[in-house]
């Protein structure tokens, strides 16, 4: 097993784009956590002397301010932190649900599998946005709900991938050995199936994070996600899109950060897939 990981790390290191993406991504993450401490401005303070001022070094707001005079740099970092947190937590939710669901369906098989996959098929037939809109409408808007709802829909593809992998793992000798030595189904799934899923799961999880960040920004853009005065990248972009003509930087700063973050996550995920040699589908 350790040889496998060493090989994978080496292959990843040999991929300069993926390494660059990882570094840039880590920098953005680090900045979003510690950056606000190093700025004299706060994310919610209004500076009425500098309303919608353009980026520049002549005042304290290097990346400019928004329509209410709030520092765009600090706000974008705070928004990035919210978006990242949602991306990571919702991915975790989708991991837990998707792995358990997919492993059970794939391992138990037969009628159970058929029924469980049919449910996924029906759920995937709906544009996911409907679910989230309904859930936000029913339970009200808030970050806690966002974690849950986005994670709750993100598990569908994960479950499919896990099921496919489980189907082939089930045929392997070590499973037969486990059955022969008297292990029960739950024990086999937890101890023998799930640990062997780790490669494709890691790759797909890395590619899920940008999808969820994108989805969260999309919801926040529609006004269904994070609410003022809190910010996520989506709400900042929504605000910026309205000011494009007079103050394009209000759009370009958070938009650029979101684009860079998603780009890095995607490139890194692709690199990881090549390194771990995971086949798509």
């Amino acid at each position: 097993m350790s040889g496998f990981w060493q090989d994978a790390t080496e292959r990843l290191r040999a991929n300069p784009t993926a390494v660059a993406a990882l570094l840039l991504m880590s920098l953005v993450m680090l900045l979003s956590i510690v950056g606000p401490w190093f700025s004299p401005n706060s994310a919610e303070a209004l500076d009425w002397t500098q309303v919608a001022s353009s980026p520049g070094l002549q005042h304290a707001h290097w990346f400019g301010t928004d329509r209410l005079g709030r520092d765009l740099f600090v706000r974008t970092l705070a928004g990035t932190r919210v978006s990242l947190a949602i991306g990571l937590v919702a991915t975790l939710v989708s991991l837990v649900v998707g792995i358990s669901y997919g492993a059970i369906a794939g391992y138990v098989g037969g009628r159970t599998d058929h029924l469980m996959m049919r449910l996924i098929e029906i759920l995937s037939g709906l544009p996911l946005i409907f679910f989230v809109i309904f859930l936000t409408v029913i339970f009200g808007r808030g970050p806690a709900l966002l974690f849950f709802t986005i994670g709750a829909i993100g598990w569908l593809t994960m479950a499919r991938i896990v099921r496919g992998q489980t189907l082939s793992i089930r045929q392997r000798e070590f499973i037969e050995a486990a059955i022969a030595s008297g292990a029960g189904t739950p024990r086999i799934i937890v101890k023998h199936v799930i640990p062997n899923l780790i490669g494709p799961v890691i790759v797909y999880a890395t590619l899920t994070v940008p999808q969820i960040i994108l989805f969260e920004s999309f919801l926040s853009f529609l006004g269904l996600g994070i609410q003022e005065p809190r910010a996520s990248l989506g709400t900042l972009i929504a605000a910026g899109a309205g000011e494009m003509e007079a103050a394009p930087w209000i759009l370009l700063v958070p938009g650029g950060v979101l684009a860079a973050l998603l780009l890095c996550l995607n490139i890194f995920g692709d690199g990881l897939r090549d390194a771990l040699d995971v086949k798509e589908r």
Binding site: G223, G240, M244, N266, R281
Partner: protein, 307 residues
Amino acid sequence: MIGYFFKRLAGAIPTLLIIITATFFLMRAAPGGPFDQEQTLPPEIVANLQSAYGLDQPIWTQYGRYLGSLLHGDFGPSFKYKDFTVTELIAQGFPVTLELGVIAILLALLIGIPLGIYAALRHNLAADHASMSVAVIGIAVPSFVVLPFLGLVFGIKLHWLPVAGWEPDSLRYLVLPVIALALPPLAYIARMTRGSLLEVMRSDFIRTARAKGLPLHSIVLTHALRPALLPVAGYLVPAVAAIMTGSLVVESIAGLPGIGRYLVQGALNRDYTLVLGMVIIYSTLLIGMGLLVDLLYVWLDPRVRQQ
């Protein structure tokens, strides 16, 4: 083959019914109602409104009535747009949304597939790396960032195209929204085409074709392309879903009078019938696309025909 198609068609009906039922009861489970406004109405008026719309009936009666009117092609009255029925609202907005979506998906296919082929034939050369890097950008950057950016460059700076707005029969207003909407699926299709074409080009029957001395273009176009397009066909349903979702924001940024706005507004206003109508339209489109893809599979992969 035809029997198979009808079997799939029959299978789509329960799916649609489940979707309608789930939406109906989920919407009703939400707190609040369509007549909650900023100034509270006197209870007598609310009671009158509710009975006028049949909302005072038991929920199962309402459900039955709704399904009954659906069978007659009637989506019911809108609760918020009082002078309109849902059918009228959808009939007004849907052509715009459809035009936007159809052009976007065609653009994604007509540029994405050739780009993927080109990249595959230039495998590991500069042109391949360049087009695939651009494709990653296309996948990663969301339409609600691309569209305002395009508007900034081509609308505000260069004055070539309108930033937002709409005139019937004028395609000028659709150019930027279509590009923003088509970019992610275009990039994705290009990447998929490249990947699967590379895989097909390594297979035995292609080696045979090469050994026969066929020119490259005929190997690719008559032998390799059809099997290579199978995953692309499979991606069409998610692509349509992505374009639908994308058009929700693109329409609002570009000020297009499509139906995108009704979904979110309708859900927030508890405009039950409007939301149901939207869900039905969107899911029917998706399910229909799924059926179309099944037919495409038959054409692309002769093995399916024998099953």
